[in-house]
Symmetry: C2
Subunit: 397 residues, 2 copies
């Protein structure tokens, strides 16, 4: 049984702040500065170039990739770290398209994170060939999976509302139509019980600076289903994805399995921070994290709905259809969030009217939830909303 | 007048090591651990999500990009950091090809770093359309610049021999033939007096962990000539290259100028390390660094040729045609380099027979050069080369 008070003690949380923005950037695990200092002084400082082998730097994207893999149901050796999530989306998409050369449609939804759509748009524009990025509303995805579709590209949890797609069902539907499925787990990894194997995802990608607390700009991950691991064409065919990078051949030969999804030199300082942050996940099971997330989320929803009748739940009420964030709609949401932040409750705002709150059990407890509810209640009680005087005041706090 | 003893004092160099591998990975600047610790504890720890604005994280790829720009002759606002060099090569190449849609040949040379060729190969394979990557020997490049060529893609300094291409002359030739020129400055930035403006490069890319000492996996840079800055199609069209990333539009609109070459979330911890490392370049001029590099290189060449007649200079003897490394050929080079490393002289080896030595004036002086020469001389004097006994001994040291 996980001791969540113990995990909370492992984070540095700023004084007088209730941090409900871990769905955007996780807070600093206390172990990170020491680990990074050791990487800098003992590894880079003392080993210099030999650190690539003697400190295990070269192998670390795969070694730490497996730590992520464990959290998303990926077998060892099928997940690797590197680059940014946008770049990993591009690699997955280009690889998937090459596996379905006779089809022309990339299907996604308007709840996908815009960068995923932008990367697809850039790829479609560059490739031409009649390719099309088709974007439908989230609720229309299932019906839009036709035999035209080469690739279904979705983010499991909507970054605005927290609405969760049914990965196994949609993937099965894609496969039945002969399409492949790419899942972006940016808002899932470390938050939900993800199982890319049971869910039969062909490709999965995600970032590590949200629920996984790897720090600003922590590297992304990519998982390729074992059935495609030696078949996927990496598109971004960099030397560290080569079968023998240090042979310095002039021609590219893809590495074995997931190694081919590596591109350039891995960001070793960021990887050290992430590696330390992931130690916390060795203390928990995702089932417990998920259960606790639902418990705290339900408490937050009930509290806010009681205290702030003007706020409308934007997230699904059914926990099974929700990720690990809770969002409310409010016309003056931007100003209300500024007011909440000024009182130490940090969530964020997404236009036009979404107030987002990340529910992260590793460092949030009932006291935090109740404090957030109380602050939001106080803000809403001022009953100055929708007046110029309020807008004035919110702008200066 | 630069005080190179003062710059040397700013680096942590391992005890009893003469480090001649700064062309591969620069050593740790002493200021880096403190700066990174401050970024972690004071910025990430205390500001968390607000660090993106309040600590200037979001703007840092451009701000620090300008610090690199100053070293390569790029005007402010034309250089940005992010991703790895391989990814930046891909972006530059895809952008350049889109600017020359009627031409089919990417011209490069066999002295280019393999990853650049691999990235081009991957792009050509994906795009099809009759595109061709044409790789010629370095000495044949000028003659191969025909009107078929869309893009000339070269690394200025050969990673094995240190042979330096004439950037202004080859670029002029490319332009005269109607082609564009991409220059990889991995072995130039921070080592040579580079002037992308005078040299008229269309795109320039490079890494920051060699001469610039940004640490393992430090981000790459890309510069786009102002004439193309608002015209280049970034190919990897990520949200941070969008004109308004936080509008979260569903459609991509490229940002103004170099901003569009940004892709995903920047690696803030790596950037903090790089930013600290670059402070050292505020104390020097590239003219002085270059003059000192030539002085030390010539001393090294003279010393090794006197002490080690079996070693053959692989680098150009004329400093104007050489980067900031010196390479020698020796059939038993791998073993000899292992022996040198075991005696504290760290260079590296590239197959089949190249012993490489980076000459980096920021932290090397005459004493270091003379010590390296002495150690190489001692190793060569054992006169056990080409015998099984030697190979045995070299293998175990």
């Amino acid at each position: 049984m996980t001791d969540f008070a113990a995990t909370k003690a492992l984070f540095h949380l700023p004084d007088a702040i209730t941090y409900l923005d871990g769905n955007s950037l996780g807070p600093l695990p206390k172990s990170v500065p020491r680990r990074v200092e050791s990487m800098l002084s003992e590894e880079w400082g003392e080993l210099v170039i030999t650190g690539w082998n003697r400190a295990g730097w070269m192998a670390s994207p795969l070694r730490i990739g497996d730590r992520i893999g464990r959290l998303i149901g990926a077998p060892p050796g099928t997940t690797v770290l590197g680059d940014t999530l946008s770049v990993k989306v591009y690699q997955a998409l280009a690889s998937a398209l090459a596996l379905r050369p006779d089809r022309k449609v990339i299907l996604s939804d308007s709840g996908n994170f815009p960068s995923d759509l932008y990367m697809a748009e850039g790829l479609v524009k560059m490739l031409g060939q009649g390719l099309e990025l088709r974007v439908v509303p989230p609720e229309d995805v299932a019906g839009a999976i036709t035999e035209e579709v080469a690739v279904l590209m979705l983010t499991e949890v909507d970054y605005r509302t927290g609405r969760r797609h049914d990965m196994p069902a949609l993937t099965a539907r894609a496969h039945a139509a002969g399409a492949l499925a790419i899942w972006d787990l940016a808002h899932s990894a470390g938050a939900l019980e993800v199982d890319v194997t049971a869910g039969d995802a062909d490709f999965a990608v995600g970032c590590t600076y949200k629920y996984l607390n790897g720090g600003p700009g922590a590297p992304a991950f990519i998982h390729v289903a074992p059935r495609f691991a030696n078949q996927a064409v990496p598109a971004l065919s960099g030397w560290l994805g080569h079968a023998a990078p240090f042979d310095f051949d002039l021609g590219y030969r893809p590495g074995a399995g997931i190694e081919r999804m590596r591109v350039g030199t891995p960001p070793i300082i960021q990887l050290a921070a992430l590696d330390a942050a992931l130690d916390i996940y060795d203390m928990v099971t995702m089932a417990e994290v998920r259960a606790r997330s639902i418990q705290l989320s339900d408490r937050f929803i009930a509290g806010v709905e009681a205290a702030c009748p003007a706020l409308t739940l934007a997230s699904p009420r059914d926990p099974a259809q929700r990720g690990s964030q809770v969002s409310f709609r409010f016309a003056e949401g931007y100003a209300a969030m500024q007011a909440a932040i000024s009182r130490g409750v940090v969530g964020d705002f997404r236009a036009p009217d979404i107030m987002r709150f990340g529910i992260t059990p590793l460092y949030l407890d009932e006291g935090d939830i109740d404090r957030a509810v109380a602050v939001l209640g106080e803000i809403m009680e001022t009953s100055l909303w929708d007046t110029p005087a309020f807008r004035q005041r919110a702008a200066v706090t």
